[in-house]
Symmetry: C2
Subunit: 216 residues, 2 copies
DNA sequence: TAGATTGTTAATCGATTAACAATC
DNA sequence: TAGATTGTTAATCGATTAACAATC
């Protein structure tokens, strides 16, 4: 169904389509897209049918139309404004992350508790944290990135949501709880690395003992 | 089975266990852990049985022993050395990321093509990129974080793997292909935000039309 | 003992894949 | 037309959940 994996695949199809387009292709078949992102052709057609995307039997899908439709589904047909709360190492790196801008995501401002981080006249200004609520309301911001220490994260999230934020991308190593009507996705960097370490170890054991193979 | 989700759950159990331990608890039941990370108690017991972790009927699991066992399974019973290739915004933020150090992950060095980034005497030194191969071999490094521009990422990955790297955590917005015996996990920041945007839009549609509800 | 909790087996659920009729 | 490709239905697969006997 229209679960997280499915939506992620839509993004990947889109990326692949931009590449094919740049290569001069005009239309594409489900096999091409399947191959490009590493799934079965029936998965591609299934995903598309879920969103009412149709091609032409024998003629495949028109790349331009498909990109446009995918962007529409993913909400990428308009620019989205995002604020970043917590301008430490991670937060300020994200403020300067180019792919956001290229992808129609506008980082409007940063907020931090530390006066040394404040920079009201910078390209992307950094304001004191107590300015975040009025800022959200004034600019109708719906998306926020949280990059504060873990102990502060839930409190910051609650505050942002009460001010009108609907979606949070959280880099603090804690799973945020959200009331209905808002949503948080968590990126836990240490967990990702820990996970990788596990699978590297599995790989190493396989080398030594190729019989006891288990799937990774 | 022992898939990615299962391993991620092990990490989450571990986090929850440290918290319970800090709160003074000594033993824990499958319900407590289930509650803590938001799964069913039978999921917890199933996960544990997959790794031969056993408790006492009626007595639950001993927290200290459980933490130790989980760390062992996850390979966290030893310190892991990691290098970072690409010391731009993201790369240098990760170099300073405290949670890695706290979690027994040692960032040994950074590497960058840009001489302006080099800092051979810094706390975590940054070397020219052509020093990476000898460095990997000399220090037996198996893990790398890639934070270079997307066009360079695959080439860098190939080079690292040929030098002995087994696991790559990739921040370039491209899916790395790896030969057998090595593995890459990809973190695509724009895709994460795009995904969040989609689910926020679903939420907003639900508000307007609560009937046509679909699962997020 | 009675009651609670594990460990495992069986049932359910949902997502992926295969198959194939429709049709260009 | 013959052959290729879609769109959808049915089959498969795997992961999660429920159930329950064992036992502390």
């Amino acid at each position: 169904m229209k679960n997280r994996n499915c939506i992620i695949r839509l993004s990947r199809y889109k990326t692949a389509l931009y590449r094919l387009k740049a290569l001069g292709f005009v239309k594409v078949f489900s096999d091409n897209l399947a191959e490009a992102i590493g799934v079965m052709p029936s998965q591609v057609r299934k995903d598309f049918s879920l969103f009412g995307i149709s091609g032409k039997k024998r003629g495949g899908y028109h790349i331009d139309a498909l990109i446009e439709r995918l962007n529409e589904i993913l909400g990428k047909d308009k620019v989205h404004t995002v604020i970043i709360v917590g301008c430490g190492h991670i937060g300020s790196a994200l403020m300067k992350y180019r792919k956001f801008e290229d992808g129609g995501i506008k980082i409007a401002a940063g907020f931090d508790i530390d006066p040394a981080k404040h920079a009201q006249d910078a390209d992307i200004p950094v304001f004191p944290i107590d300015r975040v609520k009025p800022f959200i309301k004034e600019h109708n911001v719906e998306l926020a990135i949280i990059a504060v220490p873990d102990i502060a994260a839930q409190q910051v999230a609650d505050m942002l949501i009460s001010a009108g934020i609907k979606g949070i991308l959280n880099f603090a190593p804690i799973r945020l709880r959200c009331p209905e009507g808002s949503i948080a996705h968590n990126i836990n960097l240490e967990l990702e690395l820990e996970n990788l370490i596990y699978f590297v170890n599995v790989l190493k054991k396989k080398r030594v003992n190729p019989d006891e193979t288990e799937n990774a």
